[in-house]
């Protein structure tokens, strides 16, 4: 038993090592008033092998040979080399970006992502909205906002650097408590999603079988009970599942045997969805004119920043958006003249009447 656990831990470490090999990537979108976008990607890697270093299949966002690419490197005090690749391309419209997402062959190719841009004429100003969205992974999951309050939500979506700073700053106690609370609640959220998703997938697979509706209803009604068992017995969960104890508890002796295949398949689907092999990266947006709204964070270069992590789009689409405005100078002049004209007319009338 112990040996098996060690092997599993090693496998887990192996998985982490693999994910560490991917370059650290920051994508910056420079949005222009005509809807064109200059997209810049900065990738940093410590990989020594030149062939593997910036392999397209390892990069988090779509990129190809049509991009203007510049390579450089930095050597730190210890003598470790960091390789930096900067790629740039001008997209004439948002549709071009969406096309590249559709034909992506990078490490996050299995995730549905898209961008959008719209321009609104509001007489005194022209308003622009740009967004990038990652579609949700789970079909039957619960939104994270059902589990966290506003302050916790803000913390949950915060970039790691900001979290670190807060936890080491003057209000460290407050932020550590907040961090613990978020961790506890998101653990619960994950467990609830796991159960809900399993029930959802199981109901899909068991469609058409006798007593199906009743079983699903009963499973849904006992969802919280299911979650509590997971919480209590997380270490023995695999054996509970393999021995059929969990299924017998919730489906009954007869149904546990009858629906064993569907239950196992549903668990495989859920595991695959929840273990989504997503490689994190950061997204930045630079809007034309004056920024008036965003759901992102502001980094040291005064650019908008969003961390992109799989947790964020587990149960809801993750949209990174920014809005800005450019004043319509001609509209201001026309309005000024119009007001002066009407005001003079009113004064003339008052004088003539007097």
């Amino acid at each position: 038993m112990k040996r098996r656990s060690i092997k599993l831990i090693v496998l887990f470490i192996l998985m982490l090592i693999v994910s560490c090999n991917d370059p650290e990537t920051v994508v910056t979108n420079y949005v222009h008033p005509d809807g064109s976008v200059t997209r810049k990607i900065e990738m940093k890697s410590i990989e020594g092998d030149i062939k593997k270093r910036f392999k397209i299949s390892n990069i988090q966002v779509p990129i190809d040979s049509n991009w203007t690419i510049r390579d450089s490197c930095t050597v730190d005090k210890k003598g470790d080399t960091t390789w930096i690749r900067r790629a740039e391309k001008v997209f004439k419209s948002i549709d071009e970006i969406n096309l590249t997402y559709k034909s992506d062959s990078g490490s996050n190719k299995d995730f549905s992502r898209n961008a959008g841009f719209n321009k609104r004429f509001k007489w005194f100003n022209k308003e622009f909205r740009f967004f990038e969205r990652v579609d949700k992974l789970l079909t039957f999951g619960y939104p994270v906002k059902d589990f966290l309050n506003n302050e916790e939500l803000r913390y949950f979506y915060s970039p790691e650097k900001l979290k670190e700073e807060n936890e080491n700053g003057p209000d460290s106690l407050k932020f550590k408590a907040l961090s613990d609370s978020v961790k506890h609640k998101t653990d619960k959220w994950t467990e609830k999603n796991l159960v809900s998703e399993w029930i959802g997938e199981f109901s899909k697979l068991a469609t058409g079988k006798t007593n199906n509706d009743m079983i699903i209803k009963s499973l849904r009604a006992r969802e919280d009970e299911f979650v509590k068992i997971i919480e209590k017995n997380d270490k023995q969960l695999d054996s509970l599942w393999k021995n059929g104890i969990l299924l017998r508890e919730f489906l009954g002796e007869e149904n546990a045997v009858k629906y064993k295949t569907e239950a196992d398949s549903a668990l495989s689907i859920v595991t695959k969805n929840m273990f989504a092999n997503f490689n994190n990266y950061s997204e930045r947006i630079v809007m034309p004119g004056k920024l008036i709204g965003t759901n992102g964070f502001i980094d040291s270069s005064h650019l908008l920043l969003w961390p992109v992590k799989s947790d964020y789009f587990m149960t809801e689409p993750y949209e990174m958006w920014a809005e800005s405005k450019i004043p319509n100078t001609w509209a201001w002049i026309v309005s000024g003249f119009f007001l002066a004209f009407v005001l003079t007319g009113v004064i003339v009338r008052i004088i003539k009447k007097g």
């Binding site: 470490i13 092998d49 668990l267 961390p307 947790d311």
Partner: protein, 181 residues
């Protein structure tokens, strides 16, 4: 009638009938017309222009419509600007992240992945992985080290009967909890 007055009247008649001999009548005519036009023109530019531009003030519905449009324009301006200023003020109060976010997985995320792994029946989805030779060596070394430590721990338990008893008791307790469920 006095003879003096008669003479006077005759002279006056004579003078009236004898017209002056003008050599440039056209010039005089042009000059007179010009002066008349200038007088008329100055009168037109003041009143006519005002009437032309602001004649609408005497038509009630036009006057009311234009005033309403002006008020609406001012209100739209005030509303738009206040909404924008409010949003900008909210943005300016946002915390600035001092450094760029990187792509590596933070510790709590790793923990969460591990939790999901445990809760999902300890299964990983199948996928291809590639690691460098150096990393593989490091991995094998750490596994060997872990195995050595495990052996040491096993020997330690075997040598100490009390410790062995305690661990066995704990294992039995664990199994009971499993079976009770």
């Amino acid at each position: 009638m006095e003879p003096g007055n008669e003479k006077y009247n005759k002279v006056l008649d004579l003078l009236r009938k004898s017209k002056p001999d003008l050599d440039s009548t056209d010039d005089i005519k042009r000059e007179v017309i010009k002066r008349i036009e200038r007088v008329n023109h100055s009168r037109l530019s003041l009143s006519d222009l005002v009437d032309f531009l602001f004649g609408w003030v005497y038509i009630q519905w036009v006057r009311r419509s234009l005033i309403t449009a002006s008020i609406a324009l001012v209100l739209v301006f005030i509303y738009q600007q206040s909404v924008i200023l409010k949003r900008i003020d909210y943005l300016s109060r946002q915390t600035i992240v001092t450094e760029r976010e990187n792509g590596s997985a933070p510790a709590d995320e790793v923990e969460k992945m591990f939790m999901v792994y445990r809760n999902s029946g300890r299964r990983f989805p199948t996928k291809n992985i590639t690691i460098s030779e150096k990393q593989m060596k490091e991995l094998i070394e750490s596994v060997n080290e872990l195995q050595l430590k495990y052996k040491d721990l096993e020997n330690l338990i075997q040598e100490d009967p009390e410790l062995k008893k305690m661990i066995e008791k704990k294992l039995i307790e664990n199994n009971r909890t499993k079976n009770n469920l």
